[in-house]
C-alpha cells in the first residue's frame, strides 16, 4: 500500500451546514427514518484533532479499471453507456485532491445484484454496479458506467426511485465524510421522491442533479454527465484567504 502525504489539518473548525441544506434524521416521508432516527438531542461536539483529521487512501488500493463499470466482466453490460465526472471541492472552492470516491448503482433494468433486491427485473451478469476512483490534483474524478434504471420500493403506495448513483466520499477530515446520491436531469420521478425532497432548500436539492456535459461527452461513444460535489470546508480566517490553490 502506497501512502500519500497527509495534508495538514486546518486549525479552524469546519463550517456547520447552511439552514435547509442538510436533512434531519427524522423525516417521516421516508418511513424507515421513524425507527432509526435518534430521539434524544444531539450533543454539540467541539471539533478536535479526531474530527479534523481523516484517513488517507493511496492508489495502491485501487486497481486499474475500478472506475470503468462497463469493463469489469467478460462482456458488455446492457444499457446506455455514460460518462460521469466532476470535481470535488470544499465550501471555500478549494479542490479536494486524492480523495476516495466510491459509487454503486442499479443496472439498466433497475436491479441490484443484492440478496435484498427482489424486484422482478433481470440482473446483468456483466454489470455489478460498483466503482471507485481517487480524485486527481485538481479534484477531478471520472467514471464510465451505464445509465441506471428506475425501480420500485415499498416506502409508500406506487413508490419508485428516480434513476440515481450512490456516492461516498472521504475528504481529508472525519467531519468531511459524505454519502450522497446523484440524479439525472429532467427525471419526472424526482418530484415524488422522499430522498430527493429531504431538504427544504430547493437550490440544495437541484445540486444533486447532474447536468448533461458536452465537454466530457465522447462522440459516437457515450454521453457525459457532470456532477460536482462539495464537502464541508474550514471556516475561513482572513489569513487563509488569498492562499487558494487556484
Amino acid at each position: 500500500m502506497r501512502e500519500t502525504k497527509q495534508a495538514m489539518p486546518p486549525t479552524t473548525a469546519y463550517r456547520r451546514p447552511a439552514a435547509g441544506t442538510q436533512p434531519d434524521y427524522l423525516f417521516p416521508r421516508y418511513a424507515s427514518t421513524v425507527k432509526r432516527a435518534p430521539t434524544q438531542p444531539l450533543v454539540m461536539l467541539p471539533q478536535t484533532e479526531t474530527e479534523l483529521t481523516g484517513p488517507v487512501f493511496g492508489y495502491g488500493e485501487l486497481r486499474r479499471g475500478d472506475n470503468d463499470l462497463t469493463r469489469q466482466h467478460a462482456g458488455d453490460p446492457i444499457g446506455e453507456r455514460i460518462i460521469v465526472s466532476g470535481r470535488v471541492l470544499d465550501e471555500n472552492g478549494r479542490p479536494m485532491p486524492n480523495t476516495l470516491v466510491e459509487i454503486w448503482q442499479a443496472n439498466s433494468a433497475g436491479r441490484y445484484p443484492h440478496r435484498v433486491d427482489q424486484h422482478d427485473a433481470p440482473t446483468d451478469p456483466n454489470f455489478t454496479g460498483c466503482g471507485r476512483a481517487l480524485t486527481d490534483k485538481r479534484g477531478h474524478y471520472r467514471f464510465v458506467t451505464i445509465r441506471p434504471g428506475e425501480y420500485p420500493w415499498r416506502n409508500h403506495y406506487n413508490a419508485w426511485r428516480p434513476a440515481h448513483i450512490h456516492f461516498s466520499l472521504f475528504g481529508q477530515a472525519f467531519v468531511q465524510r459524505l454519502v450522497t446520491q446523484m440524479y439525472f436531469p429532467g427525471d419526472p420521478l424526482l418530484d415524488e421522491d422522499p430522498m430527493y425532497n429531504c431538504v427544504p432548500d430547493e437550490r440544495a436539492r437541484k445540486r444533486l442533479i447532474s447536468s448533461l456535459d458536452w465537454e466530457t461527452t465522447i462522440p459516437e461513444f457515450a454521453l457525459g454527465y457532470r456532477f460536482d460535489i462539495v464537502l464541508r470546508g474550514p471556516e475561513e480566517t482572513p489569513m487563509e484567504r488569498g492562499v487558494q490553490t487556484e
Binding site: Y25, S32, T39, T48, E61, W104, C130, L208
Partner: protein
C-alpha cells in the same frame, strides 16, 4: 468563493455493493505497538431489532496519540451482519490533544451509516476504567446520565474484548454528536 456542502443522502439497503471492498476489521498489522483490543457491538433500532444493513466506520489515533501513521492508518469499516453485529480488532489509542490544549481521554471516533438515515450518525467510543474519562472535555459536555452509552464495557469471559453498542432510540439511546 463560498459554496454549500452537497446534501447528504442515505446509503440505502444496497450499500454492500459499493462499500464492502474496503471492509477493515483488523486495523493493526503485527508489529504495531499498543495494547491489542477487540471491540464488538450491535446496532439496534427503536424496537430493539438488529439493524442488519448498517455500516460502522471508526477513526482513531495510534498508541502514542498520533493520527495517520505509516504503519497504523487508524481507519476501520465493518458492515453489520444478520444480528446487527459489527467488530473491530485494533489497539487502544493514546491520548489526543483537545480543546484549549487539554488532553482528551483515549477515544475512537465513530460514524454509522444505514438505510433509514439520510445522513450519518457521529459518536465516540471511550474506554472503561480509564481515569482520564473524568477530565475529558467531550464527555463533560454529555449529560451525566447518558455518558455511560459512550463507554465500552469489558466483555465477560473474553479477555481483551470490549462491547459497545449503537442503540438508536429508547431508554439507553447512544449519545450522538452534532459536529
Amino acid at each position: 468563493m463560498s459554496l454549500h456542502a452537497t446534501t447528504s443522502q442515505t446509503v440505502g439497503p444496497y450499500l454492500h455493493i459499493g462499500l464492502t471492498w474496503l471492509i477493515t476489521e483488523k486495523l493493526a498489522p503485527a508489529g504495531v505497538p499498543g495494547q491489542r483490543i477487540s471491540i464488538e457491538g450491535r446496532v439496534l433500532d427503536g424496537e430493539g431489532k438488529p439493524v442488519d444493513d448498517a455500516l460502522v466506520e471508526i477513526w482513531q489515533a495510534d498508541s502514542r496519540g498520533k493520527y495517520g501513521g505509516k504503519r497504523f492508518r487508524g481507519f476501520g469499516r465493518s458492515a453489520t451482519d444478520r444480528n446487527g453485529a459489527f467488530r473491530f480488532h485494533t489497539i487502544k489509542p493514546g491520548r489526543v490533544i483537545g480543546p484549549a490544549g487539554k488532553p482528551q481521554a483515549p477515544h475512537i471516533g465513530v460514524q454509522v451509516f444505514m438505510r433509514g438515515q439520510l445522513k450519518q450518525l457521529f459518536s465516540r467510543i471511550y474506554f472503561p476504567g480509564e481515569p482520564s474519562n473524568a477530565q475529558d472535555p467531550v464527555l463533560a459536555r454529555v449529560p451525566a446520565a447518558r455518558r455511560a452509552t459512550l463507554i465500552a464495557q469489558k466483555k465477560r469471559g473474553k479477555a481483551g474484548t470490549l462491547e459497545w453498542n449503537v442503540i438508536l432510540q429508547g431508554r439507553n439511546e447512544t449519545v450522538f454528536f452534532d459536529l
